[in-house]
Structures are given as structure tokens and as C-alpha cells.
Subunit: 109 residues, 2 copies
């Protein structure tokens, strides 16, 4: 991550934040954005991940404050629910903005 330089002068790829841009995490943010509150198993199916791999990426997003992870029960079964935070929604919007700039540069040629 670079962060501090002049974004307009730099190549749009520099502005991409690995926390958000990474394929699986971008998927998690997109799905929680679509569904607001999603169950762990749903994310796992949608993104075709192992539980371990999904957990690892959820931790990165939770530590960055982009999602909230809530553990509870549905009947007797343990369930984990994931919600996008306001910061997460902002980070996803920023990523989309940068991707659009990058796409525009590719398509201008």
C-alpha cells in the first residue's frame, strides 16, 4: 500500500488497497454489500472456499474494521453472521472508484 502520494498523478494500480482488492476479500465485501448480513456457510458456497480459507480472510477484514462478525445460534446450530460496516462500505466504494479509473485507462487504448 502506498497511501500518501498524490492519487491523481500516480498510476491507479498504486491506489488499490490489498486488504480490499484481494480476490476473496473483494468477493466477501461485494456479497455482504448485496445482502447486508450473510451467514458464513452462504459466503463459503458463493465463493467456493474452505472454512479455513474463508475464516482467514474474514479475520483480515474484521481487524481492518470493514466487517463485523457475530456468533450466535439458529436452533441448536452455531451460526456466524457477517455484516458490512460503514467503513467497509466506504472501502468497497473506494475500490470500485479506483477500478473504474484503471479500466478507463485500459479501454482508452
Amino acid at each position: 500500500m502506498t497511501g500518501t502520494h498524490d492519487e491523481d498523478a500516480a498510476h491507479p494500480a498504486n491506489g488499490l488497497d490489498e486488504v480490499v482488492h484481494q480476490r476473496v476479500r473483494l468477493g466477501i465485501l461485494t456479497i455482504t454489500h448485496e445482502a447486508r448480513r450473510v451467514e458464513f456457510g452462504y459466503l463459503r458456497t458463493q465463493l467456493e472456499l474452505t472454512a479455513g480459507n474463508l475464516s482467514k480472510h474474514l479475520s483480515v477484514l474484521e481487524e481492518a474494521g470493514l466487517i463485523e462478525v457475530e456468533k450466535g445460534y439458529e436452533g441448536r446450530r452455531g451460526r456466524t453472521w457477517i455484516t458490512l460496516t460503514a467503513l467497509g462500505a466506504k472501502a468497497l466504494a473506494d475500490e470500485i472508484g479506483r477500478l473504474k479509473k484503471l479500466i478507463a485507462r485500459v479501454e482508452d487504448r
Copy 2:
């Protein structure tokens, strides 16, 4: 990477290929697409990378057949030139297509 499933049914984040999607590599492909043939030092400056980090990502792209790396001289100075291959141009176009699908899903909400 998933690769074999029905792309239309799956979430667009599944179709993203880590070789191309990774932030630095997406930057390299975008810049070589813009400039056709670029010098190592130019890429390094544009993407604000150390030589070692850039080399590592160039190797991944070269092994995947997405770029060609050519070593030569400019006067007495060693130079490394990077060119996008036809396969690389195709891979970048595929990535852009998938990103657009993903952006459309985010913006539909």
C-alpha cells in the same frame, strides 16, 4: 482459482484469476498494455516498487506467458524490457470483463 464451473452462475469474484488480479501484477499488465514495451525502471517508478518486488511479480507473469522479458543494453547500461504477449492482452481483457460484472453487482444496490 476455480476455473471449471459455470461462470454465469457463480459470483463474479470467483472468476477472478489471482495471477492477473493481484494489485502489482494488474498494474504491470495495465502499464504494458498502455505502452506496449516498457523498461524495468519505468515500471518500478510508476508502481513505486523495490526492484526485488517487481522482479518477483514479473517472474509470475512471465511463467504464465502473459509478458515477455528481454534483457539488453542501452549504451553500456543493462536494461530489461517488458512486453505484453497476446495471451497477456487476452488475460487483461478477461479481468476487465469480470471486474465490470462485479462493479455492476455492487452498483445495482
